[in-house]
């Protein structure tokens, strides 16, 4: 596909189709409604299925059912709607069904706002629903990156039989950028666990389930899940380290906020202040190793976490820095995004501090 100008939500849907997704179950909510709208047009054209569910709850359970047959399927929503999906995502994670979910974040808590936000960071990276589980969470900073990561998200969900998430915000979903939806080589994984009707008696009867009533069984399942998350953490970390040659300070930010921060880095360079940027592309697994490495650099005097939430990302930054250098927080609340100049001000304030 040639480079075209596309809205983020629509490009995400097209990229999912390129990644082999043929089943979408969703419910309208601003600012992600173009995702179901786009799928409703495109799925019939590619022989796929679009179902507008009666609720986010129903949509995620339709995803459970369909993905439980081994097909590539997804759902999408935005913050309040995404909270409603958490029960279903916990079930999908425990039943080890490969599935992809998209959260185009808006302001919260409660009904919040319809503008962009990053305040679902904890929910996305620490599990979200009940029980011990993790999602493999990709946080793209551009529409092109969102499309490229969609292919990775589908592949890894199949490979690990886990839930992959694309974590964007209303800005990413609503803006338009030139994008190339690249062809994806869809790799087939073993689907003998899937419920498709038991015609093939060479495999055991397939049961998709998350109930393990004895503590021995549930303990074993949790151990298997934790081993899988450990493997994912070891293999799937993605991070961009920008301008990290002997920086004086290091900014940490993800998604669209990292793009704003990059402008701040350029402005600071004009003033002769060398500031690096660490941008987690996977927010789980989190690139703690990059933080560790930066904290050990002699040139680095401190870190500035920039986020549109009340201090969520900063907790992971502090875990990575592990007390070796000061970590400051520059955050905005209620769907207000920082400007490059405001970030510059925060770095100058750090620099002025004795």
């Amino acid at each position: 596909m040639a480079r075209v100008l596309m809205k983020g939500n629509e490009a995400i849907a097209e990229a999912a189709i390129a990644a082999g997704c043929r089943f979408f179950f969703g419910y309208p909510i601003t600012p992600q409604s173009e995702v179901p709208e786009y799928f409703s047009i495109r799925m019939p054209e590619v022989g796929g299925t679009f179902v507008q569910a009666e609720s986010e709850v129903a949509a995620v359970n339709m995803l459970y059912g369909a993905a439980g047959t081994g097909v590539r399927a997804m759902t999408s929503s935005s913050s309040p709607g995404f909270s409603l999906k958490q029960e279903g995502i916990s079930y999908i994670a425990c039943a080890e069904i490969p599935a992809v979910v998209v959260n185009i974040m808006r302001g919260g808590p409660g009904l919040g706002s319809i503008q962009a936000s990053q305040a679902d960071y904890f929910q996305a990276t620490k599990g979200g629903g009940h029980g011990d589980y993790r999602l493999l969470v990709y946080a793209p900073a551009s529409i092109q990156e969102a499309c490229d990561l969609m292919a990775t998200a589908f592949d890894r969900s199949q490979k690990y039989r886990c839930v992959s998430m694309i974590l964007g915000d209303g800005m990413l979903g609503q803006m338009m950028e030139p994008v190339e939806i690249k062809p994806v080589e869809v790799k087939q994984y073993d689907n003998s666990w899937a419920t498709v009707g038991w015609a093939d008696k060479s495999r055991p009867r397939a049961v998709v389930n998350s109930l393990y009533i004895t503590h021995e069984e549930l303990g074993a399942v949790n151990k298997r899940l934790q081993a899988k998350y450990k493997e994912i953490a070891a293999n799937e970390v993605m991070v961009e380290e920008f301008n990290m040659d002997q920086p004086e300070f290091v900014i940490v930010a993800f998604g669209t906020v990292a793009r704003i921060a990059k402008n701040a880095v350029a402005k600071l360079k004009e003033q002769g202040i060398n500031v690096g940027l660490i941008r987690p592309i996977t927010v789980w697994p989190f690139p703690y190793c990059s933080l560790e490495k930066a904290a050990a650099m002699n040139s680095v005097k401190g870190f500035l976490t920039v986020e549109v939430s009340a201090g969520q990302l900063v907790e992971d930054v502090r875990l990575g820095v592990n007390g070796k250098k000061p970590v400051e927080l520059h955050n905005t609340l209620g769907s207000v995004y920082p400007t490059p100049d405001e970030i510059v001000e925060s770095i100058l304030a750090l620099k002025g501090r004795k």
Partner: protein
């Protein structure tokens, strides 16, 4: 050696069930399983277990099975049937699962005319959690959350599933049956089988509500429970076919 006169259906596994003595879930499991086998649908069947007394149904039905979140079986069934259109998909749900927490999902699956079978087991109580009030608990009936008996001023009125589901254009078949005596069991089998036949013919949603007993939580003997079903439940939940588009 003479030929055996009876053989357990191959659509049930040999796993011992966890149901209480006198509970009629076992009969209903057998009717569903026999219907699938007799229609030659075993290899295409995918069942969905609910949350509640029949949560372990995935151990007993000898076909591919999913266990759904509480009330969400019709949504999971939608996903399965859309992904594998040639499959024969059925949900097996209690009254709390289907009429309380899952009321939204079942009604919308019916409104969409999903080509699935939905079986509602109505025993007028929450069994698995220990006898709490269900949306189907009768007026005056005692439960652990209506200890003085269900009072419509406080608790409202019991809900009739088959009548409600029959109102949807997408519902192809809706019936209420019971398993309290041989005659009714045979009629129940006929209704369940018809539901599968309609799905196999590509028709819309088929809904069969089956009146069932709960001796444990009703505090009655199995025999008394069957009498309660006939004398107390049937007047409020009349048996019969509420909708049959195939017969119109």
């Amino acid at each position: 050696m003479s030929e055996p006169v009876f053989k357990k259906t191959s659509m049930l596994t040999d796993a011992p069930t966890h149901y209480c003595p006198g509970c009629t879930h076992g009969i209903i499991h057998r009717l569903v399983a026999e219907s699938i086998e007799e229609l030659g649908l075993s290899d295409r069947a995918i069942g969905i277990a609910p949350v509640g007394c029949s949560v372990f149904a995935y151990r007993y039905f000898n076909c591919d099975m999913q266990e759904a979140a509480h009330g969400r079986a019709p949504a999971a069934a939608t996903g399965i049937k859309r992904a594998v259109p040639n499959s024969i998909v059925f949900t097996y749900q209690g009254d709390g699962d289907l009429l309380s927490i899952g009321n939204c999902e079942v009604n919308h699956a019916a409104a969409r005319g999903e080509k699935i079978c939905v079986f509602l087991i109505n025993n007028a109580i929450y069994g698995m959690t220990g006898g709490q009030m269900a949306p189907t608990t009768l007026i005056g009936m005692k439960s652990t959350t209506s200890p003085k008996g269900r009072d419509p001023e406080v608790n409202g009125y019991p809900m009739r599933g088959a009548e409600m589901l029959a109102t949807h254009e997408g519902t192809y078949y809706a019936a209420r049956v019971a398993v309290n005596n041989t005659k009714n069991i045979l009629a129940a089998k006929k209704a369940i089988k018809k539901a599968f036949e309609y799905q196999n013919a590509g028709k819309g949603l088929s809904f069969v509500e089956i009146l069932s007993t709960c001796p444990t939580n009703w505090g009655l003997s199995p025999i008394e429970s069957l009498e309660f079903l006939e004398n107390k439940m049937m007047p409020y939940y009349p048996l019969g076919v509420l909708k049959d588009k195939g017969a119109e």
